[in-house]
Amino acid sequence: MTASVISRPTAELTPVTVPDRRVLRRRLGPGRRIPFALWLGPLLLVALWFLASWTGVLDPRTLSEPWVVVSTAGDLIESGRLQEALRVSAVRAFAGLGLGIAVGLVLALVSGLSRVGEALIDGPVQVKRAIPSLALMPLLILWLGIGEEMKIITIAIGVAIPIYIHTHNGLRGIDGRYVELAETADLSRSRFVRHVVLPGATPGFLLGLRFAVTTSLLSLVVVEQINATSGIGHLITLASSYGQTEIIVVGLVVYALLGLIADGTVRLIERKALSWRRTLGSR
């Protein structure tokens, strides 16, 4: 009894009612996308936070009250510190992101399309991935100093890893039938990359990009511990070394917002760029 007949009411405006009775099966996919759904969960969290603080269930020493955080944020904005921090960090994050994406993509193509490239590149990338980044900082300082290059390159290295792995994985997952097609269509290697590999690996790349933007944000906290005088990571580091809980929480809220916005943006790009897909999620 799964195929049932239901009726959909038609729009009131139509003067003559046009019937639309369809066979509707049990929907197994998730159905239509709810716009701005990404924000529902976080809003609920904020509401909970508010409630818990209001009723006193949440000790303000554990987590500052939302209103205190708002007023602290207000102070930071008034004094211009927050904007300045965001501006400085944005420059670093974007520079690192751009560089890292380029490097990650090139590595993924080289390693994805040749077994020799893979033998040389893949292992070291996995090694880099397995090594705690905090333990690498001293080496990076030795090699790159404590200036702006070190910060940007550190971010770029962090970004390149997920871009590499996801693009490589996406590329390797391209349906072999399309490779056969490309081979019989006598595609040159560069055309193969442009017409088959890159579009085919785009879903993987975009997933990597979601991780990459978060990585670039998170790396700020690490690199801005070193010889930075501004930046959102520096703001948090400084506040935590002074134990200024409210400022830390402001920083975390900013991170959460930036993370959500960045993720939402990449997913928007995803929906546009992958509009050709007919999948469980897009139906």
């Binding site: 009894m1 799964t2 195929a3 007949v5 038609t10 046009v18 019937p19 639309d20 009775r21 369809r22 066979v23 509707l24 099966r25 929907r27 139906r283």
Partner: protein
């Protein structure tokens, strides 16, 4: 129990004849004023009406792109997102053979056939169905290891083993050679005789339509342009002049005026 073992074929008890017996509505298909369009440019189905009695075998022909698959998908309940109006009613147990064979690539052939089937004997029934479509011994093959026609037959087996009240088949024999095709015709005919599902079969082979169906309908311009009842009995030979007349009529509906294809003539 007997009605649910899709492929339990007893010796033919009698040929399926024209209008079916049984309750008049249960298992029937009713389509009224069906409109479907994919974009503003124009509709694919434009007020199509169609009734299929329980147990009736209807063949659907029509030009490539005329909307045959669109109609089948409406009957299968797979066109939630397509714009349009109209009334569609189908029985509960519907089974679909898709135009692409659509085997799950991560399941071996037998697991594809018994997908979602209940009961301890499910796998035995699946094995039997595979044997019937000529794929005995291929139970543990992966779908990508089958040839095009073998994939199509596996998909057919998957549909038949389910014993549906309505079978929607979108060109299920398109990739089969003459002999295999005849065998599949026979198989389908036998199963229909026993379990009496209503069938809507899309085909491009006019002869196939005439040989198999109780009724042949032609889809033109989004409506049923022709609805022919085939009353040739059970001995349907293309040599029969009535057969030839039906074929000529249907081909004409499809736009082929003279079937004596002359290469140079059409080539110019």
């Amino acid at each position: 129990m007997a009605t649910h073992t899709g492929l339990e074929v007893s010796p033919t008890t009698g040929p399926p004849t024209g209008p079916p017996t049984g309750p008049p509505t249960a298992g029937a298909v009713r389509v009224e004023q069906l409109h479907r369009s994919f974009n503003e440019a124009g509709g694919v189905l434009k007020g199509l009406d169609l009734q299929i009695a329980p147990g009736q075998f209807v063949a659907l022909i029509g030009k490539s792109g005329s909307g045959k698959s669109t109609l089948l998908r409406a009957l299968a309940g797979l066109d939630r997102e397509v714009a349009g109006t109209g009334i569609v009613e189908v029985p509960d147990r519907v089974s679909v053979v898709f135009q692409d064979s659509r085997l799950l690539p991560w399941k071996r052939v037998l697991d594809n056939v018994v997908l979602g089937l209940d009961g301890r004997d499910a796998r035995d029934r699946g094995r039997q169905a595979l044997a019937e479509v000529g794929l005995a011994g291929r139970e543990r093959s992966w779908p990508h290891e089958l040839s095009g026609g073998e994939q199509q037959r596996a998909a057919l087996a998957r549909s038949l083993v389910r014993d549906p009240q309505l079978l929607l088949a979108d060109e299920p024999f398109g990739a089969l050679d003459a002999l295999t095709r005849i065998r599949m015709h026979a198989l389908l005919h036998r199963l229909c005789a026993v379990h009496r599902p209503a069938v809507l079969l899309v085909t491009h082979d006019v002869d196939e339509a005439i040989v198999l169906a109780d009724r042949v309908i032609v889809l033109v311009d989004g409506v049923v342009a022709t609805d022919l009842t085939i009353d040739l009995g059970d001995q349907r030979s293309p040599a029969d002049p009535r057969f030839a007349a039906l074929r000529a009529r249907l081909l004409a509906d499809l736009g082929v005026e003279d079937d004596t294809r002359r290469v140079v003539e059409v080539a110019v």
